[in-house]
């Protein structure tokens, strides 16, 4: 089942001679439980595509359909709500809130979605335990290793049972073994939650984990495997 469909999406920055076409006519669909890896050289438009799919940027042309909404046509004030309930984000730098514990970090998106605290706490505990952090629930991020932080970040991304998880260079700050382990966990947890995963990465070591590989160059999709 398709959970997201992008149709002829363009993103253009600047005008006239200064115009840069960061994403050029990309159309893709994401299926539930499918892991898509987007690769390409720096400046190829991978991260811009991720922003467009996640409603963090508006396309200059084209449509991004998710859950019956066209993100390109939604008013600005509605985008945060769609991001909160439909997407989960995993960042290269983990981006955990430094003064909150691992469990509280996972609770944040649920609190934003007005999930009752007790329920949010139980789900955060369950997610973190499943990701092997049952003994680290009340640790602040500064007390966690890089791999542990990324697992907390994955748990946070899955907290609101998103339709799509968008991961930006999720293994960039991890060594090879940890990187593979984290991607494996992300894939497993997303499959279990029936969420589509889009990973943007330079890391060729994680290609095996992907169901589909998209190669980008100069804003275009040049290959799809």
């Amino acid at each position: 089942m398709d959970v997201l469909r992008a149709e002829a999406v363009d993103k253009v920055y600047g005008v006239g001679d200064a115009e840069v076409r960061a994403v050029d006519g990309i159309s893709i669909t994401l299926a539930a439980g499918e892991v898509t890896l987007v690769m390409g050289p720096s400046g190829s438009g991978k991260t811009t595509l991720l922003f467009l799919l996640g409603g963090l940027l508006r396309p200059t042309a084209g449509h991004v359909w998710v859950d019956g909404h066209d993100l390109a046509a939604l008013p600005e004030r509605k985008l945060p709500g769609v991001r909160l309930r439909t997407f989960g984000f995993v960042f290269q730098d983990f981006n955990l809130l430094a003064n909150l514990t691992a469990r509280e970090n996972v609770q944040v998106p649920m609190e934003l979605a007005k999930v009752p605290v007790a329920k949010a706490e139980a789900r955060a505990t369950e997610l973190l335990t499943r990701l092997g952090l049952g003994s680290r629930l009340d640790f602040l991020p500064e007390k966690l290793s890089g791999g542990e932080k990324q697992r907390v970040s994955i748990a946070r991304a899955l907290a609101n049972r998103p339709r799509v998880v968008l991961a930006d260079e999720p293994t960039a700050n991890l060594d090879s073994k940890l990187g593979k382990e984290v991607v494996g966990l992300l894939k497993g947890a997303a499959r279990e939650a029936n969420a589509a995963v889009v990973m943007v990465s330079h890391d060729s070591r994680i290609v095996d984990a992907a169901d589909r590989l998209l190669l980008m160059e100069d804003g275009r999709l040049v290959a799809m495997e």
Partner: protein, 371 residues
């Protein structure tokens, strides 16, 4: 979201302590000013309120007893006594005089010659000694006594006449001057021409209408002006309001601006430090309203800490003032404290504007950029 606000704010305890102290000083400034104003305002009406009279009669043109000068012929007492509804009329003298204490001290006092027959316009609250002095005796205010080393039995000279301190009164301090009380007959002809009085205090017969008797006196006696007790008390207090209110409002405003600035800068700094985290919250779906609540919660927490610190600083400052400047009478009421708490909350709401505009401009996509 409140836990994020509290954790972020309390993360740097030194900064929070310094900021709460800064807000506390602003609160203290506002409270001390309010206390000073209310102290003066209250004191300005105590003499007339406690005079025991129903009407105050003074020379026409006089509207208060604090900075207007009234002089009336003493024989007017009998004329006023015949007005319907008047039970008794007592002449009193109230003049600013220099007291001579020892060889070098010449403090100024509002000297009241009270009516010895009925006790009208005498001191109303005593710390020690007699309330109504006899011949050759004087009652002085506690602040004057303290500042000039006076105690029961001490000698004071007025216009070359010697008086012995027979009582020490309270609530008779008017900041730059204090009240002192002697018998009317002792200073008649000493501080005013003979057979004159400053005011005539009218006591009404039971059931008499004060407004009607006042109107009757004003109509029948040209050159005099009668006031009800409420009117003269209000006029006295309005003198204080007129003198202090513009200054006070300016200083209130300064205190308020200091509070807003301290809270605003602290919350702004805390926001800037965590800008990336706010970006993360926006990226995962937080609306600007959620972030505004975090900033507001931080500002409110700081205002509450500052308010508590302000109460403590005010208590310490008030003790210090009481010791160093005893004439400065501070009067605190629950209403003032509630007002200042509301002001602190107001400060925090206004102070949130600066970080709010910053939060609204954070681009959620910016957190994907490295570094």
């Amino acid at each position: 979201m409140v836990s994020i606000a509290a954790r972020n704010l309390l993360h740097d305890r030194t900064r929070v302590t310094v900021s709460a102290g800064g807000v506390g000083f602003a609160i203290m400034l506002i409270l001390i000013l309010a206390g000073t104003y209310d102290g003066f305002y209250r004191q300005a009406g105590l003499f007339t309120e406690n005079s025991g009279a129903d009407l105050f009669v003074g020379q026409d043109g006089v509207i208060d007893t604090l900075h207007s000068f009234s002089i009336l012929p003493l024989d007017l007492t009998d004329d006023l006594s015949r007005v319907s509804g008047v039970e008794r009329v007592c002449a009193i003298i109230s003049r600013t005089v220099e007291l001579h204490v020892g060889d070098s001290d010449h403090p100024k006092a509002i000297l009241v010659g009270y009516n010895e027959s009925h006790g009208t316009a005498g001191p109303w609250k005593m710390l020690e000694g007699k309330r109504l002095p006899d011949r050759g005796e004087i009652v002085v205010d506690q602040i004057m006594a303290r500042k000039n080393g006076l105690s029961l039995g001490s000698g004071v000279q007025i216009g070359g006449r010697e008086f012995r301190v027979a009582g020490i009164s309270a609530e008779t301090n008017m900041f730059i001057m204090q009240y002192a009380f002697v018998r009317y007959e002792e200073i008649e002809g000493l501080v005013l021409p003979p057979a004159t009085a400053t005011y005539l205090l009218v006591t009404l017969s039971p059931g008499a209408d004060a407004s009607r008797v006042r109107a009757d006196i004003n109509e029948r006696f040209p050159g005099v002006r009668a006031f009800t007790l409420d009117e003269i008390t209000t006029n006295n207090r309005n003198v204080i309001s007129g003198l202090f209110l513009p200054i006070l409002l300016t200083l209130y405003l300064i205190g308020f601006v200091i509070g807003i600035t301290v809270i605003g800068l602290t919350v702004y700094t805390a926001t800037m430090e965590r800008q990336r985290e706010y970006g993360v919250l926006k990226a995962i779906g937080s609306k600007n309203g959620n972030l505004a609540r975090i900033a507001l919660a931080q500002a409110l927490l700081l205002a509450v800490f500052g308010f508590v610190a302000g109460l403590a600083i005010t208590a310490a400052t008030a003790s210090l003032i009481g010791f160093a400047v005893p004439e400065m009478y501070l009067y605190f009421t629950p209403y003032q404290v509630a007002f200042v708490f509301a002001a602190a909350i107001g400060m925090s709401v206004v102070a949130t504007a600066l970080p709010l505009s910053r939060l609204a401009r954070i681009d959620p996509a910016s957190i994907f950029r490295r570094g």
